[in-house]
């Protein structure tokens, strides 16, 4: 039974939460696979479902376009950073 704490006034169904938790397994897969991913994914946004990268693009707009064409349903979306150390950005 999924318990939902409501703090923002709207409702998310238990089935959506259950599916999100399944997609979290894809996130765990990406955690461990990240360093071994082919170089072609570096610097790209990727969509993962069932431990498989189903779409990738250098832009989010491009990734959304691919996902809409594929009709994948809920996916995990992540950015595979370029192989650099990430340090700092200023906002003003």
């Amino acid at each position: 039974m999924v318990e939902l704490i409501r703090r923002s006034g709207s409702r998310v169904s238990a089935s959506v939460i259950r599916e999100a938790r399944i997609r979290e397994l894809d996130s765990r897969w990406l955690d461990s696979a990240g360093a071994a991913l082919p170089r072609r994914y570096q610097g790209k946004y990727v969509a993962v479902k069932n431990r498989r990268i189903v779409a990738a693009s250098p832009t989010m707009r491009g990734l959304y376009r691919k996902l809409d064409d594929l009709g994948t349903g809920m996916v995990l979306i992540a950015k595979v950073e370029r192989p650099v150390l990430v340090v700092y950005a200023e906002l003003y």
Partner: protein
């Protein structure tokens, strides 16, 4: 007290590999829901995401609070524009829906969770030796 622990993600760098703390957040978009892997950045004042995500959430980007982001280079041409909005998101691990202030930036921004609003709702404990983060609700 409600809390959960999330392992870190490993990515390649020029000098080897680096482990980064992440958290998966669920967003309701125009065509359904997607889960996003955000890097948890306690040094960031506010959360950050690409503008395209805001568009998918139905946010009117231009109506947000204006912000500019720059990296190490102070040159104006190296900065990008952003707009700050408050959006709803869900932490699936707790089935918790909350409001989050996010700066939606032009270009290929990373997904970052910064301190504003999120760190008011969670105590965040980083455990680098064990590559995990514990999130505990503050109330």
């Amino acid at each position: 007290m409600r809390s959960f622990t999330r392992g870190w993600t490993r990515q390649r760098t020029e000098t080897g590999t680096v482990d980064r703390p992440v958290l998966d957040l669920l967003f309701r978009e125009e065509n359904g829901y997607n889960l996003y892997a955000f890097i948890v950045d306690s040094g960031a004042d506010i959360s950050l995401a690409p503008r395209d995500l805001g568009d998918r959430l139905g946010v009117d980007w231009s109506k947000g609070r204006k912000a500019r982001l720059s990296g190490i280079s102070p040159r104006p041409e190296c900065s990008v524009e952003g707009r700050i909005h408050t959006v709803k998101t869900v932490v699936p691990a707790l089935a918790l829906e909350l409001k989050l202030s996010v700066c939606f930036a032009e270009g290929d921004a990373p997904y970052l969770i910064g301190r504003e609003t999120f760190f008011d709702q969670f105590r965040v404990s980083f455990d680098k030796p064990h590559r995990k983060t514990t999130f505990t609700l503050t109330r």
